[in-house]
């Protein structure tokens, strides 16, 4: 937190010093620029030390990270009707025939289909289940 405060001060003093050498229209335009662009522009007006530039960029990235997290939009999840046994009855029948033709027992199937991670944790996600069934 103290580091962040220092960076915030560095940013404020950097802005103030540089603004002295800018006219009004330039200041207005500068305010609209993102800090990354501002540092590039300000370094022409006033030479920042590399350390200052690094600190300002670090602060900018840190602040942007917080902003991005706050404003992160998650895609709305699809609301679907639950899957009923009759929806998958035919699929089950087809699987039964296929395993019978291959002379497989449920133990054979169980032994071969699950990934190690699933076997270890005893938990399976929908994505993992889709991958298992795709094989």
């Amino acid at each position: 937190m103290r580091e962040l405060e220092k960076l915030r001060n560095a940013k404020a003093s950097g802005l103030a010093d540089s603004n002295k050498s800018l006219n009004n229209s330039e200041i207005k335009a500068t305010q609209e620029l993102k800090l990354d662009d501002y540092v590039k522009r300000a370094s022409i007006q006033r030479s920042f030390s590399q350390e200052e530039k690094d600190k300002i960029l670090l602060y900018n990235q840190a602040m942007r990270g917080v902003y991005d997290k706050k404003h992160q939009k998650t895609a709305p999840k699809k609301r679907l009707q639950k899957v009923r046994p009759e929806d998958v009855h035919d699929i089950g029948y087809e699987l039964n025939l296929r395993f019978k033709i291959k002379r497989l027992t449920f133990a054979d199937i169980d032994k071969s289909i699950w990934p190690d991670k699933v076997r270890k944790t005893n938990i399976v996600s929908l994505k993992e289940m889709i991958d298992v069934l795709k094989k």
């Binding site: 046994p85 998958v88 699929i91 039964n96 497989l104 027992t105 399976v124 996600s125 289940m129 889709i130």
Partner: protein, 71 residues
């Protein structure tokens, strides 16, 4: 399974909670493997043990069916 639609439908049937009429599709939802195995077993249905006696029995059944269809 070759059909992607069937794959997703089956996976959803095995993993999603079916207590509510509607569910929000989420690939990250998880379920206990023991429960999933139990549902999968029920879905696939009975599979023979495939010992010698079972194979012989199946062979005889098929032979009978073929004999009947030929006569």
């Amino acid at each position: 399974m070759a059909n992607e639609e069937d794959t997703i439908l089956t996976a959803r049937y095995l993993i999603e909670d079916n207590e509510n009429e509607y569910v929000f599709y989420d690939e990250n939802i998880k379920s206990d493997l023991t429960i999933v195995k139990s549902i999968l077993k029920k879905l696939i249905g009975n599979l023979p043990a495939w010992d010698e006696a079972e194979i012989r029995k199946l062979h005889d059944e098929i032979t009978d069916v073929l004999k009947m269809s030929n006569s």
